[in-house]
């Protein structure tokens, strides 16, 4: 009996000991994995000026590399150029880009959904930054305000492009996915109200000086320059003139006399530039447009632009380059002259430049009946291009001259031509004779099909799709 108990005791002790052996780390602590390398908690990002700044500068980097303003072929410079009368497509048949050129964009076009999704991702980042900055404990108010001003600036700008591409869109101001996943489209007028509110707020928060001295991030003047454009598009002439006056009366921004210098990184015409990614890189626009033998590998300028420009136009001589092989000649935008790495960067992409402010003011003045002032502004741009003063005799002619001047000045830049055709209601008139696939409903892109499937509140689809 005794031995049995002893044996039993011995057995149970052993089992107990083994149990201890098995369960030494039986607690949740064991399961705490190390923080992932290359990640930072959202809170930490906005408690440190360097990382908070990096979260803001990343917004520019994404504009440069990925969406809307990118100089890659899928940026609005490329797709809107093909969609309007600026660029011809020479690439592989069947690619998504060809659909823009042929006006065969359908709701499932991948470039359209990339543009939409990319833009809203960037808006999310702006909102995350705004919320992060507002919640920050350690950043000074001054830092917070400036960074928030930049985020508001970019949020407003992206919505501005979206409303001009897709028409009525949701204006997203929060990171809450429950709200955003059921977002509804707002009438364009309301979208514009929001854009203007964001940009005005941004202008108030931003300092007059550039954050780093270089013209590669938003300051007060950059906000004013974009506001001028927004007011112009929204037909608020007086305000457009007011904002452009702020720029044109500022001695920091001087129209480069020599047209050759306009797109260099030191250009005094520049209001906002995007700095290339790596040292020695030049612009993505350069690599997209430049080619050295024919036929063009992807796209080239439409001949009508070249034919419509006067031969004495310095822009035709300097900003366009031709390439001839046998009996064929092709033209490409040569505003940016570098497509390779140059050791030290020579050119930055220029998003906003002072000549646009002259032409904005010209149009705004004309619309307010100040024909003389409009003519003056127009002639400043013409003279710089080596042209005679305008010979427009009346308001209509002056208006046509300003729009034509915009075409010659801003070709291949950020879809300016297409947006002009659209806002002025002349797309049908200009494009239907020259674009086989043109339909009057092409004035707006379709809301991406996947987006309508995921959020039926975005219905109805734009007409024609």
């Amino acid at each position: 009996m005794m031995t049995d108990i002893r044996k039993h005791l011995k057995l149970s002790t052993t089992v107990g000991l083994l149990g201890l052996l098995i369960v030494p780390f039986g607690c949740e602590d064991y399961l705490e994995a190390e923080d992932p390398v290359g990640q930072l908690s959202t809170e930490a990002v906005y408690e440190n000026e360097n990382t908070a700044t990096a979260a803001i500068t990343s917004l520019y980097a994404i504009l440069r590399d990925e969406v809307i303003l990118t100089g890659n072929p899928t940026g609005i410079g490329g797709i809107m150029g093909l969609y309007s009368d600026e660029l011809d497509y020479y690439g592989q048949p069947g690619e998504s880009l060809e659909n823009f050129y042929r006006h065969q964009t359908i709701a499932s076009n991948p470039t359209i959904s990339d543009t939409w999704n990319g833009a809203y991702n960037l808006i999310f980042m702006c909102n995350a930054a705004i919320e992060g900055l507002e919640g920050s404990q350690s950043l000074t108010n001054e830092v917070k305000e400036k960074l928030k001003g930049e985020a508001l600036f970019i949020r407003g700008m992206i919505h501005f492009y979206l409303v001009n591409i897709f028409g009525d869109i949701p204006y997203i101001k929060t990171t809450d996915y429950l709200i955003n996943s059921e977002a509804e489209r707002m009438p364009s007028e309301i979208v514009y109200e929001n854009i203007i509110e964001d940009l005005e707020n941004s202008k108030n928060l931003l300092a007059p000086s550039y954050p780093t001295g270089k013209r590669i991030r938003a300051n007060k003047w950059v906000g004013a320059a974009l506001l001028a454009k927004v007011y112009l598009y929204n037909r608020q002439w007086e305000k457009a003139e007011h904002e452009s006056n702020l720029l044109l009366n500022n001695s920091e921004f001087v129209l480069e006399e020599d047209i050759q210098n306009e797109f260099l990184k030191e250009s005094t015409s520049a209001i906002l530039q995007l700095k290339p990614k790596n040292n020695g890189d030049n612009t993505l626009e350069g690599s997209t447009f430049i080619f050295s033998s024919g036929p063009p590998p992807l796209m080239a300028l439409n001949i009508s632009l070249i034919e419509d420009m006067e031969d004495s136009d310095l822009r035709k001589q300097n900003w366009i380059k031709s390439l001839t092989e046998g009996s064929d000649t092709w033209f490409f935008p040569f505003k940016y002259k570098q497509n390779l790495n140059t050791g030290t960067s020579v050119e930055y992409s220029i998003v906003l430049r002072i000549s646009e402010q002259y032409l904005i003011r010209a149009e705004a003045r004309l619309m307010q009946g100040n024909n003389l002032g409009a003519e003056n502004d127009l002639n400043i741009i013409r003279q710089r291009a080596g042209l005679e003063n305008t010979n427009a005799q009346n308001s209509q002619e002056l208006f046509d001259a300003i729009i034509m001047e915009r075409r010659f000045e801003f070709f291949s830049e950020y879809g300016n031509r297409w947006f002009d055709l659209r806002r002025l209601g002349i797309a049908e008139e200009i494009l239907s004779p020259i674009k086989i696939g043109w339909k009057s409903t092409d004035i707006l892109f379709p809301i991406p099909e996947s987006e309508l499937l995921l959020n039926p509140k975005l219905e109805p689809q734009n007409p024609g799709y």
Partner: protein, 994 residues
């Protein structure tokens, strides 16, 4: 030279001497009146129990099969050995009694099945476990163990993603349980979980390997595998708890066996080609199509870019691009060798493999592999302590083209220009095309090193109590490099080597696992108990680093990143995953005819946030051998079994519950790139999978005919999903649980027949059949969710919603679709009313093995019934500058035509273009893709070399994917169009057994 030969003989000679010596030593024991040698078909058999009937006197044969025993002439000797039929032989007047043991393969009792943490005999198992053994694997010329499993196990659907060497597979055991979390089974190699996630990077692997999925199981040499067990139901998988939901695949490698030292050395060579091509238009047909297309669109002057018919390209030229790009013959070479042996206490095995395989692409690409396996086992003299160690080391080197040319081969115009100009340089034909071979200027290499080590220590504390510690270490290292020289671009861009790029990706993975266990057994006449308690601690770490270098002075420096003027770190990440669990199993059997099995497991995983880390899983299994109760002469064995239990799934990404920013490769003005990593949700929990199974197993004709049938029903709930969100949220998805229930149910049948079992002529046949069914049972709020247009309650998860093609309008020549909402237009949201299911409906396999004398023949047929996307899927409209399948010739031409396909369009007719883009998303792109495939065939002949010492030579001719019978016209019916299909392989192997 001569010296080398001499040295070559020395080794086997010295071994021969050793054997001779040991033989003489053992025969000196005692002075036996009766002695002899026990053998089986392949030679001497050690360890056979020899008992004098009705006494307790007995002995065992030694490793050469010798035995000696004292017995009277009236006695009867009983010879027994696991896996062989028992023999009773009267002694009589003989003093030498040689016995030939007959294998007893059909005896269920003797087939021991690996069930993971424990072993069980086939007869007594309560769960659903299927098994294939070494013989079946060895008869197939495959380099990945998954390929050897295809079609052979009921309920397991394996699809090869690409025929490229090293390419991945998808494995689904009893269907897709999870909507979006991983559906991969758990792979366990010799007790150690093997991470089946690919370490590859899409950026660095380019487009050659679909989704960057490099199968990690390439590191396992199929020849080194003893058996593969697949655990399917709750009873079998619940002991793996949270990782068992998608089934478990147990791979057991070969071990050394006691007995004489055995050598084997084999050499094989083979060839491989694609299985089938898609029949495409020739140049005449193509040009006719293009001209008709422009005529239809009312365009008489061909556009400048219509190089194929505007006179730029030669319109008489014809190239079969499939032949040009993927029509080559790949060669395979393989050398393998092994040595194994040991005595009562210590056994060892060493094996090695070298393999080389080229590709079907033009150019000099190949795959090299070296695998080394070792195994060592030792038992202490008092039999109480056992240690076993095994390791596998694999080196792989894969040099592949940067792009899979399979897709371009199907669409390139047949009159496209020559690939090379007269100087042998790439021909760009004045920028009128992108030369597809330009992508071969880019080279993709990957080197991987893989180490698997595993140690088991076992100690018998008391008669009934064992403690055991299993520890495993896995280390994987992948280095891949994708070189993109500027020469892959059209020279028209005027680029130089400053834009050449070189991507270097390194991925390392380390995992350590320790599993202490206690096992208690109590054997009795009536009640038998088997108790297992254990714990698992696992820690795994994955590190990735991808670097891009560009700005090279010269393309020859591309292999050397330090020569790049710019280096960018694209991705640098470390992921840690920790896992801890406690498990128990209680097995009770009553009179060896009623079996009860309880398993339970509590799992914790670092992939969930605090408070959600742990989950409980468990199962109960029951088996009743009813043939013990009845006495039906026609029924030799009958068993009913059933199980019920819960398993889980944590196959989601690490750290999804953290609200973080991630460093990106988008610096700006000296600041690093920082982006929010994801939308934030920390409340997600374990996904659960409830499995039920009912099965019976029957044996007839003394076990020569076996039949089993199983019904299973698995329901998974609390689905872990990357919940799709509209773009306005900023992200495409968020990690969350979905309150949806997915049901997988089905019937599985297995039939085994031992048709002829004569000494010289044997014929076995086996058949498996699975009828799987997948259904979305519930999805509260589906209508309002972002999945409203993807899933339908009551339908499988794998459905696609398509437009319903009515046909071609005879008047307009355009496709027409059913207008479900009757609004007069075809819209994506409302009119995709046709529901198609792409999962297989029937899976089957039929194996015959015939042995005659020294010849053996294995034939395996695979059958799959399913629907698949056909030759029209993913094409541009016929008439545009892309080649098409010949089927497009049945198009509409004139008013009133009744045709299958709409009129050709050059792409300038908007209506035709739109109708075609709807067609591309309609049921017109679906066809029956069922097939019967002669999956493998092998003939081998064994020639005895020297009879006395059982040396032999085996010559085998083996084939894989030899013939495919199908009505499908879209290429190989197994996989996705546009990737290299699985290859047809033929291999000749010579193997010496010494």
């Amino acid at each position: 030279m001569k010296n080398n030969y001499r040295r070559f003989y020395v080794l086997p000679l010295s071994f021969a001497l050793l054997w001779a010596l040991s033989t003489t030593l053992t025969s000196q024991n005692g002075s036996p009146p009766i002695s002899g040698i026990v053998t089986d078909a392949s030679g001497s058999l050690g360890g056979v129990n020899i008992l004098v009937k009705n006494t307790s006197r007995g002995t065992q044969s030694d490793m050469d099969g010798h035995y000696a025993i004292t017995a009277k002439s009236s006695d009867t000797l009983v010879f027994s050995y696991l896996g062989y039929k028992m023999q009773e032989i009267p002694v009589g007047i003989k003093s030498i009694l040689n016995v030939l043991m007959q294998p007893d393969a059909t005896a269920l009792d003797q087939v021991v099945i690996n069930a993971g943490y424990y072993k069980v005999s086939d007869r007594e198992k309560t769960g659903s476990i299927s098994r294939i053994n070494a013989t079946e694997i060895e008869s197939q010329p495959v380099s990945n163990p998954l390929a050897a499993l295809q079609g052979r196990i009921s309920g397991v659907d394996i699809t090869q993603l690409s025929g490229v060497p090293g390419g991945g597979f998808t494995v689904r055991i009893r269907g897709q349980n999870s909507i979006f979390a991983g559906n991969e089974p758990l792979f366990i190699i010799d007790g150690v979980p093997y991470d089946s996630q690919s370490l590859g990077s899409k950026r660095a692997s380019g487009l050659i390997i679909p989704g960057g999925t490099i199968s990690p199981l390439n590191a396992i040499n199929p020849d080194s595998i003893e058996s593969i067990e697949v655990l399917k139901d709750a009873d079998a998988t619940a002991i793996y708890g949270s990782r068992g939901a998608n089934g478990v695949v147990l791979i057991t490698t070969k071990r050394g066996k006691k007995g004489k030292t055995k050598f084997s050395i084999g050499n094989s060579t083979g060839v491989a080609t694609i299985t089938r091509k898609i029949e495409l238009l020739n140049t005449n047909q193509y040009i006719e199509m293009r001209r008709e297309a422009f005529a239809n669109d009312g365009i008489s002057e061909y556009p400048e870019t219509a190089y194929d018919i505007n006179g730029t390209w030669d319109m008489n030229r014809y190239t079969d691009w499939q032949h040009e790009f993927i029509g080559g013959t790949a060669t395979t070479k393989e050398v393998n060798a092994s040595v194994s042996g040991g005595n009562e206490k210590t056994q060892f095995l060493l094996s090695g493999l070298y393999q080389n395989e080229t590709t079907v692409y033009p150019g000099d690409f190949n795959y090299d592999r070296i695998v080394l396996n070792t195994n060592l086992q030792h038992t202490s003299t008092n039999q109480k302590f056992q240690i076993s160690f095994s390791s596998g080391y694999t080196l792989e080197n894969n040099l592949l083209p940067g792009t899979d040319l399979s897709a371009i081969a199907l669409i390139l115009a047949p009159n496209a220009p020559a690939l090379f100009d007269e100087n042998g340089e790439l021909n760009w034909e004045n920028s009128t095309w992108i030369n597809p071979l330009a992508s071969l200027e880019g080279k993709y290499t990957n080197d991987s090193k893989n180490l698997l080590g595993n140690t088991v220590l076992k100690y018998q504390l008391f008669k009934n109590l064992n403690i055991r510690l299993q520890a495993g270490y896995t280390s994987k290292n992948l280095e891949s490099n994708n070189k993109i020289p500027h020469t892959i671009y059209d020279p028209a861009y005027g680029l130089d080597s400053s834009v050449s790029q070189s991507y270097l990706h390194t991925g390392t993975y380390q995992s350590f696992i320790a599993e202490p266990q206690i096992n208690w057994t109590k054997q009795g006449e009536i009640h038998n108990w088997d108790l297992l308690l254990g714990a698992t601690y696992q820690n795994q770490k994955t590190e990735n680093l991808t670097i891009l270098g560009y700005g090279f002075a010269n393309n020859s420096f591309l292999g050397n990143l330090s020569a790049a003027s710019n280096l960018i770190i694209l991705n640098e990440s470390t992921f840690e995953y920790k896992y801890q669990s406690f498990f128990a199993r209680i097995n009770y059997s009553f009179k060896k005819k009623l079996f009860l099995n309880f398993t339970g497991r509590r799992d914790g995983s670092s992939r969930f946030s605090t408070g959600n880390k742990y989950g409980n899983f468990g199962a109960v299994g029951l088996a009743w051998i009813f043939s013990e109760e009845v006495d039906w002469s026609w029924l030799s064995f009958g068993k009913l079994r059933g199980s019920y239990g819960i398993t889980g799934n944590d196959q989601i990404k690490d750290y999804q519950y953290l609200q973080n920013y991630v460093i990106t490769n988008q610096p700006y003005d000296g600041n690093i790139g920082l982006e929010p990593a994801r939308l934030y949700n920390s409340n997600y929990k374990w996904e659960e999978n409830i499995k039920k199974e009912l099965a019976f197993e029957l044996g007839f004709l003394n076990g020569n005919l076996e039949f089993s049938a199983a019904y299973y029903n698995n329901r998974s709930s609390n689905q872990l999903v990357d919940y799709a969100l509209p773009g306005t949220t900023g992200f495409p998805s968020i990690q969350a649980n979905l309150n949806a229930i997915v049901e997988n149910s089905g019937l599985e049948f297995e039939l085994f027949g031992n048709l002829i079992h004569k000494e010289k002529f044997k014929w076995t046949t086996s058949l498996n059949l699975s009828l799987p069914k997948n259904k979305l049972v519930a999805f509260p709020g589906l209508e309002k969710s972002t999945y409203a247009n993807q899933f339908v309650i009551g339908e499988p998860l794998s459905i696609v919603k398509l437009y319903n093609l009515i046909g071609v309008n005879p008047d307009t020549g355009l496709y027409q679709f059913k207008d479900y909402n009757g609004d007069g237009t075809i819209t994506a949201t409302e009119d995709r009313g046709y529901i198609a299911d792409l999962t297989p409906k029937i899976l089957g396999g039929f194996l015959n093995s015939i042995n005659y004398n020294n010849w053996s023949l294995d034939i395996f047929l695979q059958y799959v019934k399913k629907q698949g996307f056909n030759e029209f899927y993913g094409n541009e409209p016929p008439g545009t500058m892309f080649n098409q399948p010949v089927g497009v010739l049945d198009r509409w031409q004139f008013t009133g035509d009744r045709s299958q396909l709409q009129k050709f369009t050059s792409g300038f007719n908007d209506e035709a273009y739109l109708a075609y883009s709807n067609f591309a998303q309609s049921n017109g792109t679906l066809s029956d893709a069922s097939f019967v495939r002669l999956k493998s065939l092998s003939i081998s002949h064994t020639i005895p070399l020297v009879k006395e010492n059982n040396t032999s030579c085996r010559i085998s001719l083996m084939g894989q994917n030899l013939m495919t019978f199908t009505k499908f016209k879209g290429g190989d019916p197994e996989q996705i169009k546009g990737f290299l299909p699985p290859l047809r392989r033929i291999q000749l192997q010579i193997k010496f057994y010494l």
